[in-house]
Symmetry: C2
DNA sequence: GGAATATACGGCAATATTGCCGTATTGTTA
DNA sequence: TAACAATACGGCAATATTGCCGTATATTCC
């Protein structure tokens, strides 16, 4: 298995820049190991020779090893995207920590996705959202709307736009954590649906390895077929995969039922303890759990041809600002006045 | 970077055994990716040819791909140690979930390590434990003792032994999770102490990659020098590394203070947001946190020449069964009667 | 201060990984 | 049913990784 060699070189440069002194290969190996990079000392030396050639490192002596050059430091600043890896995982954990929703009384803040559309497309958009929500491919049936100038989560609605807030699936992380259940968010992916049944993940991006929310990326890349999954029973929907300790299984079911009372849903499947779920292996002692993407209704709006600007993990919103989607259909003409 | 090729082959065999039908290389790649194994399709085919030669797989057709043979299934059963990887992480998460200790009122169950010694060594053992506890290289100053036939955590004390229960550092996971703070346990390691200051981790074992508690392994392997660290200011102590979301920093400090009220401690250092701690890099948006090993006092007992049988993560114990260590010194003669 | 030991290097070559592409099959569509 | 498209294969060779070991330095010890 081979990581890209410039990733390895970048990691080595990072180790040297964080050290105050020259390092030999075996010291660099130790530091890399703590970063999840597993290379042999000889390999590190092989890369160090390449970095020398690029002017990013220089040999102090055969005993003392190498140090980073000024050029090496500039190179790190230039390619600082590396340091941002994993930032979506931090956002997931931060927002999950900050939200305050309590399943017992249905009060508190939840995490939302915010999507901006042209007000002229509102009626069509609500119909599409309703279609997906009714079929069950979302995190329940609640939604928020905000007009230009207003604030929805962390988004201020720009002029000429209307904002739609849907419940983000990371809200489930926060809910479980508030109940003391540890949740490991593994990846966001595209789940294939055939004959109205979920089959397997056809694409996936690890939360730990991404600077963007995976589902947002897939939708922007026009890789979804949510409408088709609903209308024809065959398509591709957004979903994410988590692992939970098997011992918490009963409590998860209880929390799931309590969520439903408040119009929240989204858990598509929970696997058997230590067994694969949709061909995804789970660690021993854990269950896999697949949660539908809170952006599936928005993907459908986009598939229907509406221009949508999407922002996932877009901050917190008090749950009392969300109402059932179908009420926008009844009131939507009046709502816009 | 290269994982051992028999690990790759084993993972491929696992994917095929979990599938009900033949698979081609690119389908195997998808499944491997969900297991954290990143190989190219050509590489998978390279390994498949080797597995063919070993009789573990066979080509169904050039279009349909390969399936596992009966011999392949036997090979998986034979090398089932692979399936047990990660089991300590599940135990950490399970026990953290199950314990009920509440920092506000100091009531509930905590997670303990249990160590068995000869009753004749009790007095010496308590003195060593006291030495380490007073220096601060443990999870506070509380301890439990049980005589033969009694139960301590999940351990029934055998004849001719006396059991010592020390607070396990995973108790901190449970405490933080009960407060809604997600904690990532990264690894258990050996921390070098020089001139009475912690320097860096000289060895480490990832929780996710181990079937045994790393600290238990290091102690059993006689790799600690806890007594020396306390008596001479230079040595090697057990500690573990966690990541917490930066946003939870203030609350962690509050919880830390609340723990101290009840005689619980063990947090050695918390790093700056997104900054390395003791040369260990952390993900963006997280802080590193180093927690001392609950078994450090036991390591010292062992270093002092006492024969000790150690079991870490040895179940739950009601916190009211632990008393401050120094009380065993005062009462220990009477205690044994 | 000199010898021994520990740490680090790079040459050489074996082994592992993977890109490219022509060929072999199966599934789908007209 | 035949043609076409999709999926999978393995040959060939380039590139990456790493084991082995002799040599270059610094640190430590007597």
């Amino acid at each position: 298995m081979r990581m890209r060699s410039d990733e390895a070189k970048s990691a080595i440069l990072k180790v040297l820049s964080e050290s105050g002194k020259p390092l030999g290969a075996s010291q660099i190996v130790s530091a890399l190991l703590s970063m999840g990079v597993d290379l042999q000392p000889r390999t590190v030396r092989y890369y160090l020779l390449k970095l020398d050639a690029q002017g990013f490192t220089k040999l102090v002596s055969r005993r003392m090893g190498r140090e980073i050059t000024e050029r090496g430091r500039e190179e790190i600043s230039r390619t600082n995207a590396m340091a941002r890896m994993g930032i979506v995982a931090a956002k997931v954990d931060s927002l999950g920590y900050k939200m305050s929703f309590n399943v017992k009384d249905g009060k508190g803040t939840i995490i939302i996705n915010v999507s901006l559309i042209d007000p002229a497309d509102f009626r069509l958009a609500i119909k599409e959202i309703q279609l997906i929500v009714n079929y069950g491919f979302s995190i329940g049936g609640m939604m928020a709307v905000a007009q230009e100038g207003a604030k929805l989560g962390s988004v201020v609605v720009p002029e000429g736009s209307i904002a739609i807030g849907t419940v983000c699936s990371v809200t489930l992380n926060g809910i479980f954590q508030k109940e003391g259940i540890p949740v490991v968010s593994r990846f966001g992916g595209l789940l294939e649906i055939k004959d109205r049944k979920p089959i397997r993940f056809v694409n996936m991006i690890e939360y730990r390895g991404s600077t963007l929310d995976p589902l947002e990326v897939f939708i922007r890349a026009d890789m979804t077929r949510v409408r088709s999954a609903v209308l024809r029973g065959s398509g591709i929907v957004c979903a994410s995969f988590r692992e939970i300790p098997s011992v918490a299984l009963d409590q998860i079911r209880k929390v799931e039922r309590a969520m439903k009372v408040h119009g929240l849903g989204g858990i598509l499947a929970i696997g058997r303890p230590s067994q694969p779920l949709f061909d995804i292996s789970v660690s021993e002692g854990y269950c896999g759990m697949v949660v539908l993407g809170g952006l599936n209704p928005i993907a459908a709006v986009r598939e229907a041809g509406v221009r949508v600007s999407i922002q996932s993990l877009a901050g917190l919103l008090d749950f009392n600002r969300l109402i059932p989607v179908h009420k926008y259909l009844r009131h939507d003409t009046g709502y816009l006045e």
